[in-house]
């Protein structure tokens, strides 16, 4: 298996009103090309911060990250075009239409006009937003925003897709649709990394799962192996097994 992301001793501390917060505490892991990699953990575990660093948005306090063999921090300009990011905060321009939002992203990635228009139509149909293409996103539901947000992130056909909490706050049907989409992107050859705090979703879709708690990566393996090592029946219990102490404290 070919590594596509290599993380070594990653640390991020924040200075918040004089108090030092260690959001990510000495995390090392590898993601392989073509896999679906899930990060689970409670709110504040450090998932989004890890994402920010992997995607060149936040400078690590210390540690090394390689994305597709390129050094984060040194070769950011070459990394950005090959990764796509769906942020946890669904940041769309409320007063632009869905199509205009996509076009804006496409332009930032310098996608040729013709290719861009074809992709926009293709993706809008793929996520079932073709009828809302020319509506302001201001009136979109959470599910619609999530779907638009992800296709904003794949407009430039990235190799790696980072998806921060794809299913949070969505109804079960929409979640189903989102996961179907995730699988589709993976089948298209994209490596997929996402975060969630729904264990059963991680269990169903991931090749490997990393459990994060209080800035540390407390476990990382195939869902089946994780269940075995912790002697649990499902990931929910695995999760409690690995994070229970931390949460209680």
């Amino acid at each position: 298996m070919e590594p596509i992301i290599e993380v070594k001793n990653l640390v991020k501390t924040f200075d918040s009103r004089g108090k030092k917060i260690t959001a990510v505490n000495d995390v090392s892991f590898t993601v392989f090309k073509g896999e679906i990699f899930g990060m689970i953990g409670p709110n504040g575990a450090g998932k989004s911060t890890t994402f920010s660093m992997l995607t060149t948005l936040t400078k690590p306090t210390s540690g090394n990250i390689k994305v597709s063999g390129l050094d984060v921090g040194k070769q950011d300009d070459r990394i950005r075009p090959i990764i796509g990011i769906v942020p946890q905060k669904l940041s769309l321009y409320p007063l632009l239409t869905a199509r205009e939002n996509l076009k804006f992203m496409g332009k930032l990635y310098n996608i040729p006009k013709k290719v861009m228009e074809e992709r926009i139509d293709y993706y809008l149909r793929l996520v079932g937003l073709e009828d809302s293409a020319d509506r302001f996103t201001e009136g979109f539901s959470g599910g619609m925003k999530q779907r638009l947000s992800v296709i904003c992130a794949v407009m430039h056909d990235p190799q790696i897709l980072f998806w921060d909490e794809p299913s949070t706050g969505l109804d079960p049907q929409t979640r189903q649709a989102i996961w179907k989409l995730a699988r589709k992107f993976n089948e298209d050859g994209k490596t997929l990394i996402f975060t969630t705090h729904y264990m059963e979703e991680a269990e169903n879709i991931c090749d490997r799962v990393a459990v994060m708690n209080l800035g540390k990566m407390v476990a990382l393996d195939n869902p089946e192996v994780l269940k075995e090592t912790s002697g649990s029946l499902n990931l929910e219990q695995v999760f409690m097994h690995f994070t229970g102490e931390g949460v209680c404290n």
């Binding site: 920010s52 948005l57 075009p81 769309l92 990635y109 430039h156």
Partner: protein, 374 residues
Amino acid sequence: MTIKTELIDSLAVAEKEFKILSRRKGVIIPLLLFPLVMMIFFGYGMGGTLKDAPFLIVNSDTGQASSSLIQEVGSYTPKYDSYPMFSVTYSKDMSQSEAESKINAGVYKGALIIPPDFSDNIAKNQSTTLTLLTDSSDITASENIINTIKQLLTTTGLLKITGLVSLNVPNIYGNLEYLDFLTPGIIALTIFFGSVMTTGAAIAEEKESGTLVRMLMTPISKRSVILGKTFYQLILELAKAVILILVAYFLVGFRINGSWLLVALVLVLFTLGGVGVGIILSAKAESMESFDQLAMLVTMPSMFLTGVFFPLSSAPVWMQCLARCVPLTYAIDAMRTIMVKGQNLNAISTDLIILTLFAIVTFTLGVHLFRREA
């Protein structure tokens, strides 16, 4: 429900509001400060007198009448002041056009030209004319000078009593009104507020909504983001200026006496500086709300300090000193020099240098502070 309980409820609400307010220190300061600042500055600015105004007397006459007049002018001290009103420079043989150009250049606030045969004519009981030039782009100073000279001519017995001396006051910039004075200043002020507020608020808002992060995780450089926003701002502000000028033209016949290109140059430089300030403030602000407060704190003092509404020459000295520290002052000065006085590049070179520095410094700092980091 009785009136009493309603009252108690409303008082509780009021108390809560005050509590919240007392915890938002950023709001309290401008809230208390602005009415005060307005009162103080408008009070001083509008009612001020002229002190130590640079004044030129061109006298080619050696007679008795002119020397007593010169003495009166030089030593004249307004009623409520301990300083003489004029700081006089004397000259012989200077032409009216030369004196005018000195006023244009801002060297003097006014000039009195005494003809060579002045004393002679008076001695011979023949009529003679004094010429008084003033910087009429500075309305308060100009009116002040004209009134004072008229008054002095009367007290020295030269005007009216003998009926021989008349005072010629040519209007070197045409007939000016308060609006001619006000329009360039208002335009500069609007551009400043606009560029600082709009740029900063747009960035702060994008920061808050997360769209900025989304933009910055694409290959686009932060410089391009800033540049794009700057272009947008430049166009917006220039369009605003054109609209303001047109409105002033159609309403009161306001005309630009100088070059449109120079006006545009000043506005472009000044907008760049304003955009820089906006970026710096948005980089420092955590949220939309805190940006608004910061921006108020920075822009408001400029408005009252810089003589948008009244000529700085009539303001107290401490205020003039403060005004020298505010870039808006130089923008306003340049705008008035071009638009009202119709002067060329030379007359605004100092202003342009300062505005260029302002733009470079704020812009560099803004780009530096503007972070890609989420």
